[in-house]
């Protein structure tokens, strides 16, 4: 919203305060200021001039050669392209040496004819919207008068961030802003000059019917004998400075009141509209708006109809084409109304029509403003168009009045919340400046909220804390340390472990962390030939592009691998994120925190990648989760995993996820040159597994003995079978083992594989004799033989 400082000064005397100080304090006490722009000082040497003669340019069919009187003596010759030039017209003329915004005026030749100056268009000067010709001034304008002496073109325009006014319906017009400046700088706010509406009480009432509770107040008043078509230069100037366009006198006036008071108004042509009916439509209604655009008004909107039940306006948003005022209008039915903010917002969004009026209504305007706005408009209208006559009483249907708000509080409470000791007087002074009424009974304060702050903004004592301290100045509050008891701090395991995993994967295993989105990429999944059946979907996926929430992380990581495949020969990425793959009995999602890893390499084999993942899983299990896990055959293999070379991670009988080489069909669709492996583990499942107790092997002072055994086993049997025998081997000595070597040579070993196992036995109470060792070896070999695992011969 753009605020004209000149306009503000109509209502409050801000003399002696620099603009910088004004805007700084406003920003710290009220709302954020986006820009401050000085205007008018780039209009130089522009004066009223009268056209003395008009000749056609000999070499141009649209240029004219004018002689103008600019008050400096001799007539000045100027070439002008405006179509509305005529003898006797008074206009703004920029003399040679002058300036119109960025344009410096010099003597030039235009198609061979000398031109000394420029006749100015209103749009060029920024004082009118009109672009069709040069400014047409009233006949009483005095030739030679500088534009600065005729109009307050020198101004400071302050643009306030609309978002920071969301909660302040009272600040959507100049008068409200002026009230705020008056409070901040402790100056007096001048009362508005208003027409006395009670003078029309004896005139007949308008026929106004309100049939929806969402219309809080609807007022109307009728006026005839309107003669003036064009607004005054000042009204045009202010509208244009504040970012609006002037249209015609009546439309401009309603807009002017909206910018001044924040109350949107609408003017109907009383010759056409005789009465008003406000309804809530049950069916969609089509209507042509002022600009001639056809809109369908969605059901449950507020619609203004005439007495023949024809829709004539979308309440609070836009007027209709056929019944609105035009330049032919001589009698007027003036609407000043208040509607439910949420209804206006919903209709506005549904239609896709956001207007200056709807923006204001959305903020919950004060219904009391309806009367003020009508009285203000009539006051101005009577002064610029002397012959107008009011033909109806001020007809007021006031359905919903906000309750009066009184808040009980104390100076002690306000001081305590702010952290600054303020007296009752100090508090009363600030609140009174903001139009609150404060009653003090032995220190108990009763604060009455002004109506323009009582529609949603101020209702509880904490709101008063804000009012008091924003005026007191937040920068005047001293920072104060707080004291709290010394208590140990909980650590949330699901959160801590996340970082530990991330740190280990990046620092120890050289993986790169990525963050992705939580939805499935249907196109990519289709491209690699997998489907993901989401449990949850977005209701509106127009902006995200995807609707289904992910049930696995890996497909998105594969997508990232795909996007990076041409830039990197080796890719190793991971993400810890949520998946949404299950609903509980209340239909609420059971979120899971999962870890996914994707490895892709041009140099490493499938086997090497598969084992790298196994190494990672074991590291996490042993060093981060401290749990026992097993690798089981994959019974329910994920679609992107290799059916043979993948496995399930199981701990305490519970599956925590899968990992393995990528399915050849998926891999080939991403990158044929690379080998791929992927992993997906449920972090919560791993956290919930029983923790291992560290078992200490007692140390012995006796010499250990190290022995190597070469076993052979059918190649179809996994090493785990051999290791099981080792794990379960019972022995009186301290028994440790490791796999030293694996040798596979089908021809030599007849489809068997050889494993070299190193065993270390340490006696606890005596030195081992060769006899002891022989006895041990024999029993050891026999135990294996029972499982059909024999010594290599």
């Amino acid at each position: 919203m753009i605020i004209s400082l000149n306009w503000i000064k109509d209502f409050v005397d801000l003399s002696g305060i620099e603009v910088d100080e004004l805007t700084k304090r406003f920003g710290l006490s009220t709302a954020e200021i986006e820009t401050v722009t000085r205007v008018g000082d780039n209009l130089k040497n522009i004066v009223v001039a009268k056209i003395l003669s008009v000749e056609n340019h000999p070499q141009s069919n649209h240029l004219h050669i004018l002689k103008v009187d600019d008050g400096s003596g001799a007539p000045v010759q100027v070439v002008c392209g405006a179509p509305n030039v005529r003898v006797g017209l008074k206009t703004f003329f920029c003399r040679v040496g002058g300036q119109v915004k960025d344009m410096k005026i010099k003597p030039v030749k235009m198609v061979g004819v000398e031109s000394n100056g420029m006749c100015c268009g209103g749009n060029e000067l920024g004082i009118e919207a009109d672009t069709s010709g040069i400014v047409e001034l009233d006949d009483d304008a005095v030739v030679g008068t500088d534009i600065h002496d005729m109009l307050p073109v020198d101004d400071v325009l302050i643009e306030i961030d609309n978002k920071s006014l969301t909660n302040r319906p009272d600040l959507w017009g100049h008068y409200g802003i002026a009230r705020e400046f008056a409070a901040i700088f402790n100056r007096k706010l001048k009362p508005l000059e208003l027409d006395d509406l009670s003078a029309y009480n004896n005139l007949k009432k308008l026929n106004i019917k309100v049939e929806t509770k969402n219309c809080f107040r609807y007022t109307g008043i009728a006026v005839k004998n309107i003669a003036r078509k064009v607004s005054t230069p000042l009204i045009k100037l202010r509208l244009n400075y504040c970012g609006m366009r002037d249209i015609n006198m009546l439309a401009d006036l309603t807009n002017y009141i909206m910018l001044e008071l924040g109350q949107p108004m609408h003017a109907f042509d009383n010759a056409i509209v005789k009465g008003i009916k406000v309804i809530e439509n049950k069916q969609p209604i089509e209507m042509l708006t002022l600009e001639g655009e056809k809109h369908e008004i969605a059901p449950n909107s507020i619609v203004i109809c005439d007495d023949k039940a024809e829709p004539i306006a979308i309440a609070g948003i836009k007027g209709g084409l056929k019944d609105s005022i035009s330049s032919n209008t001589t009698s007027l039915l003036l609407e000043s109304a208040c509607f439910d903010s949420a209804t206006i917002r919903k209709t506005s969004r549904k239609i896709g029509l956001i207007t200056d009026a709807s923006l204001r209504y959305e903020k919950s305007l004060d219904p009391e403003l309806c009367l003020t706005a009508s009285a203000r408009l009539l006051y101005i209208l009577k002064r610029i168009d002397g012959g107008v006559k009011v033909t109806s009483s001020f007809t007021d249907v006031y359905n919903f009045k906000y309750p009066k708000i009184k808040i009980n509080t104390t100076a002690e409470f306000i001081s305590r919340r702010g952290g600054v000791n303020l007296t009752v007087d100090e508090i009363t002074n600030i609140l009174t400046r903001l139009n609150f009424k404060v009653a003090n009974k032995n220190g108990d304060l009763t604060v009455e909220v002004p109506t323009f702050r009582a529609t949603k903004d101020v209702s509880i004592r904490e709101d008063l804390v804000e009012e008091v301290f924003r005026m007191y100045g937040y920068d005047n509050i001293k920072s104060a340390p707080m004291s709290m008891p010394l208590t140990p701090v909980d650590k949330i395991a699901t959160h801590e472990v996340e970082y530990e995993i991330k740190h280990a994967l990046s620092s120890r295993f050289n993986l790169n962390e990525v963050h992705s989105y939580v939805w499935n990429y249907l196109d990519f999944n289709k491209q690699i030939g997998i489907t993901q059946n989401s449990v949850l979907h977005l209701m509106d996926s127009s902006k995200s592009g995807q609707a289904g929430l992910r049930i696995n992380l890996t497909p998105t990581l594969l997508k990232f691998a795909d996007e990076n495949k041409n830039k990197f020969s080796e890719i190793s990425i991971f993400e810890i994120g949520r998946t949404f793959d299950e609903l509980d009995q209340n239909n609420l999602v059971k979120e899971k925190k999962k870890l996914s890893i994707v490895l892709a390499s041009e140099t490493e084999t499938d086997k090497a990648l598969y084992f790298k993942l196994k190494q990672i899983v074991e590291f996490l299990a042993e060093n981060i989760f401290n749990i026992a896990i097993e690798f089981k055959p994959n019974t329910n293999c994920q679609a992107w995993l290799h059916p043979v070379n993948s496995c399930e991670v199981v701990g305490a009988g519970v599956s925590a996820g899968q990992f393995g080489v990528l399915h050849p069909s998926v891999k080939n669709k991403i990158d044929k040159r690379k080998h791929f492996a992927s992993l997906e583990l449920d972090v919560n499942a791993l956290l919930n597994m029983p923790k291992l107790q560290t078992k200490i092997v007692p140390s012995s002072k006796f010499q250990p003995v190290s022995l190597d055994f070469n076993f052979v086993m059918d190649s179809t049997r996994p090493y785990a079978e051999l290791e099981n025998v080792l794990k379960n081997f019972k022995c009186a000595y301290i028994f440790e083992y490791s796999l030293k070597d694996v040798y596979k040579n089908d021809q030599q070993l007849l489809n068997k594989t050889s494993y070299t196992i190193n065993v270390t036995i340490t006696p606890k109470d005596k030195t081992l004799t060769s006899e002891d060792i022989e006895k041990f070896s024999a029993r050891f070999i026999k135990t294996f033989a029972m499982q059909n695992i024999n010594l290599r011969t």
Binding site: L28, E462, I492, K502, H515, L536, H537, E563, E591
Partner: protein, 342 residues
Amino acid sequence: MQNKINEIKQYVLGKIKQIKDLKDWQTLRVEMFGKSGKFTELFKLMRDVPAEEKGKVGQILNNAKQEIENLIVENERKMGEEELNKQINSAEKIDITLPAEKCTGSLHPRTIIQREIEEVFTSMGFVVEDGNEVETEYNNFTAVNVPENHPARDMQDTFWLDNGQVLKTHTSASQNRILKKYAPPIRAIFPGRCFRNEDVDASHENTFFQLEGVIVDKDVSVGNLIYFMKEMLSKIFNKPVEVRLRPGFFPFTEPSFEMDVKCPFCDGKGCPTCKNGGWIELCPCGMIHPQVLKNGGIDPEVYSGCAFGLGLDRMTMLSTNLNDIRELNSGNLKLLKQFKIK
């Protein structure tokens, strides 16, 4: 006796010349001073020396022993030194300017910043809570005092899900659960991924990270909030910072503020980061609305509190000079691999 001593001395000098290996010195020592060493034998002869000469002969013997020992030690030391020099001079000159194997892993820049910030809070006694990404309408809106008709609840602004839940629009969605979980005094932060249904461009994301915190105790004041934010931000930026409050509006706090920090990159002189304004809008905050406390089972007559939010994405972009927020969710490894683990 003297003859014998001289004889031994000559023998030792001869031996020393022949020694090639460091371990031979020990052999020579044993040969001289061992149980049946040459010198030990000489000492044995003392038995036959007449009593009146014992002192004199003893001294001669001792001096001689000392002399020989010194000879051995001195030559052993020299040889040791020569041998070390030989080792040093014959060593392969290693070119340490060749590259070593690098750690190529990286954390996401958000994770790095988040951890740094979390550590500041944990050092101040805050618990770090883990929130959900899908929330109920109650937790996301109603519990934190967002009115029934508030635009934030519209389909156009919030990702509603087909089971009636929402992708949480702000970390405040966790407030109710945390207020209920802990009894005052409470100090908690809760970072998390948030979502808004909006069009994505260089400065807008539909998926972003926030970090929010609450402090609840008796008589927490605006002055406390200012103190705390100043301390916390000074630690995060690693230098004393100046902060200022401006009015803000959020349904879950009253009063509400926008907190600006005097630009730590230019000390408020004006730079591209602060768009030459000298201040950076950093942190929405405020005093927790009494209704929010009440919804969390905390009596607002007894307790008050403050809440604050930090945009983790914004903090990340500030500290990494990233200027396109979309990069953070992009999986662009050319970018992400430039970050390390700190």
